[in-house]
Subunit: 404 residues, 2 copies
């Protein structure tokens, strides 16, 4: 069976008119002789409305009932899609998590799909049916409804593609692909035709919101080709695939950035084993995510300076937590709430010398001061003053020929 | 186990504030040492909104997906109630049709509850939990979601009371009970403390919209005491029970009426066997409900006059259907689109002579002409000109001492 998994996000099914449009997209694959498995999110706005209701009921709404509540959103959108396909003369029905079943493990509201039972769906596909699978939801071993976290319909799509050995997994969304940088900020940003999982992961975690990082990771582990496409206009999307499939002379694939970072520097920290852990423990316990971390070598072997970045919104709380902590001592704390991170991403840099130099040089020529540097195998990130952010992206976009 | 079933209608759970209020009602029964089974409708407006969406998708939306769609409404309300009870420190969870399971038979969208499996709920009750059962829904033998028709949460409540042998089944709604007549029309209408199933059935089918007739019938067959109460204010409701439990000197329990009836008289119908069936066949096939039917004896044995009533809104269609039908012939058709039916209802009339006389006499004294008369064991209905409707109800309400 030549199976394709089509995933539709919330805006793609955001109204009954939109549902009529995606039904046509679905049919176009049937006409190409694919066996189509559809997986849909809730209509946009529905999940937010339900979450809002749950908060009015309780500021700590129990997670098992939260899953029951929000999973109703996908139930509604899937039945409407199936209803439309029936209206157009196609055999179709909704499949809820418990009907397939899709078995999950882990906590409510952040479960992971463990197994998808294939029998029912395969039988239905063989009968010529188009299954519309409710994304985001499954059941656990106690027969309770579970969900896989916000944006979890991507995870459902990847797992369906994996278990049914789909030829393709197409993520239909409201953007038409992945860009070299945010097209709203950088006018010369270009759509990327093909990108590796690793590059996409770095793009995603640095701000490109096309797909959830853990879904990309799942696709990478299972070698599933993903196409990201727009359900609003006809155009080629972006293929996310393994490095080997990519033939391109580009060293850098794209530039990602953050807007609202803050920098914290602790001066004169007692340099002893376990001190970094002691500093970050209270932040971790308060769900404050630390991004870049730089520690200077202590000149006298007794004291050191430590710099790290967090989201600006967490700055006040972070200062309080650090000052309150009894496990650490430092002489002074310096903060800067107006910094941004710019990253260049590309598997090409592994085999190409001089990328770091070209990056720093391009920024220097524009008089942009680099506050912190952090590198990984396929990414170089620098922290800059926020007022220099746009200038930095444009300079790097040009330096690495992303405009062509 | 001393079990009580509490049913909440759509307006009773129509907002998160309302859900907070019904949660308190639920807890009050727990404090009285009841094992409480809750069954809830969707929040008011939700089902209508979903139905509207289905109509935009297709004017003939498939019934199996319709059931998936609308049953999401109860899923949401039940999870919110359970969430609130958890917030208040009580062990509670939602139970969907498939989780119990509640097995239904018959067509989608108008299924009937066949069996409720008790094991899971009994276990949960023994653990001290408060199950919040999604009303209106079940599953069929193919594991598809089914619904039992609009207003079907009453049916769910009665069946839960039956299978769990509940001591009481309390229907919480937005009215505080059953009245001797519509309190909006008749200011002197009084709340009825206790009414028999049979009387309630006649009240329901004649316009009192407190409960669906088939749910009352189910309660009657299973001898389940029902209390109809308001979830909006504290007050005694109406007990619906078997005749034997009622000790009351009232001959007449209440007066029901319709507002928008039309009368159709066919003059000079060929009097032969099967003619009545031939007349009503096209109406039945077009889902036009015929209420009162009177046939005059044919003086010459060849022709007869036939009178029946329908809803005013169906009058035009009925006339067309009758004129078009080839199976029937008549000389003339006379219609009156402005008639109303008034009924007096009471089991007391079985053993009390003279009720018919008193009714006709009371109307005659007010110069109200009776157009058609129809009687059953516990009900006498008359058709009057609509302009006389209120006068008729008031006169009868007084005649049978319902004001006291």
């Amino acid at each position: 069976m030549k199976i394709v998994v089509l995933k539709f996000g919330g805006t793609s099914v955001g109204s009954t008119d939109r549902i009529k449009k995606v039904s046509k997209i679905i049919i176009s694959y049937v006409q190409k002789k694919y066996k189509v498995i559809v997986v849909s999110s809730a209509m946009s706005g529905v999940t937010n409305d339900l979450v809002k209701k749950s908060k009015k009921i309780s500021n700590e709404f129990v997670s098992d009932e939260y899953d029951v509540l929000v999973s109703a959103g996908e139930q509604m959108s899937c039945s409407l899609i199936a209803g439309r396909l029936n209206h157009l003369g196609y055999k179709s029905r909704s499949w809820l998590g418990w009907q397939i079943p899709i078995l999950t493990e882990g906590k409510h509201s952040s479960s992971r799909i463990q197994k998808i039972y294939k029998k029912n769906i395969i039988k239905y596909l063989k009968l010529g049916g188009i299954p519309i699978v409710a994304g985001f939801q499954g059941i656990n071993s106690e027969n309770r409804i579970t969900t896989v976290g916000r944006g979890g319909t991507d995870a459902s799509a990847i797992m369906l593609a994996r278990f049914f050995r789909a030829e393709k997994c197409i993520i239909y969304t409201d953007v038409d692909g992945v860009y070299t940088s945010d097209p709203n900020t950088i006018k010369k940003a270009k759509k990327i035709k093909v990108i590796s999982y690793e590059e996409m992961l770095e793009m995603a975690s640095s701000g490109a919101k096309v797909m959830q990082p853990h879904s990309i990771q799942d696709a990478r582990l299972n070698r599933i080709n993903i196409e990201v496409k727009s359900s609003f206009k006809k155009s080629l999307g972006t293929l996310i695939t393994k490095r080997k499939n990519i033939f391109s002379s580009k060293i850098i694939r794209g530039i990602s950035f953050t807007k609202n970072d803050a920098k914290v520097t602790l001066i004169g920290v007692k340099d002893k084993p376990g001190i970094a852990a002691a500093i970050f423990e209270p932040l971790y316990k308060n769900s404050i995510n630390v991004d870049m971390v730089v520690q200077n070598i202590s000149p006298n072997g007794k004291e050191t300076d430590l710099t790290f970045t967090i989201k600006s919104e967490n700055l006040n709380k972070t200062q309080k937590l650090l000052k309150k902590s009894k496990k650490i001592s430092f002489r002074k704390i310096i903060v800067d709430s107006k910094v941004s991170k710019v990253s260049i991403i590309g598997v090409g840099m592994i085999t190409t010398p001089g990328v770091t130099y070209r990056m720093f040089n391009a920024l220097a020529k524009k008089n942009i001061n680099i506050i912190v540097i952090s590198t990984s195998e396929i990414k170089i990130s620098v922290l800059v003053n926020r007022k220099n952010l746009n200038k930095a992206i444009i300079a790097l976009h040009k330096e690495f020929n992303l405009e062509k």
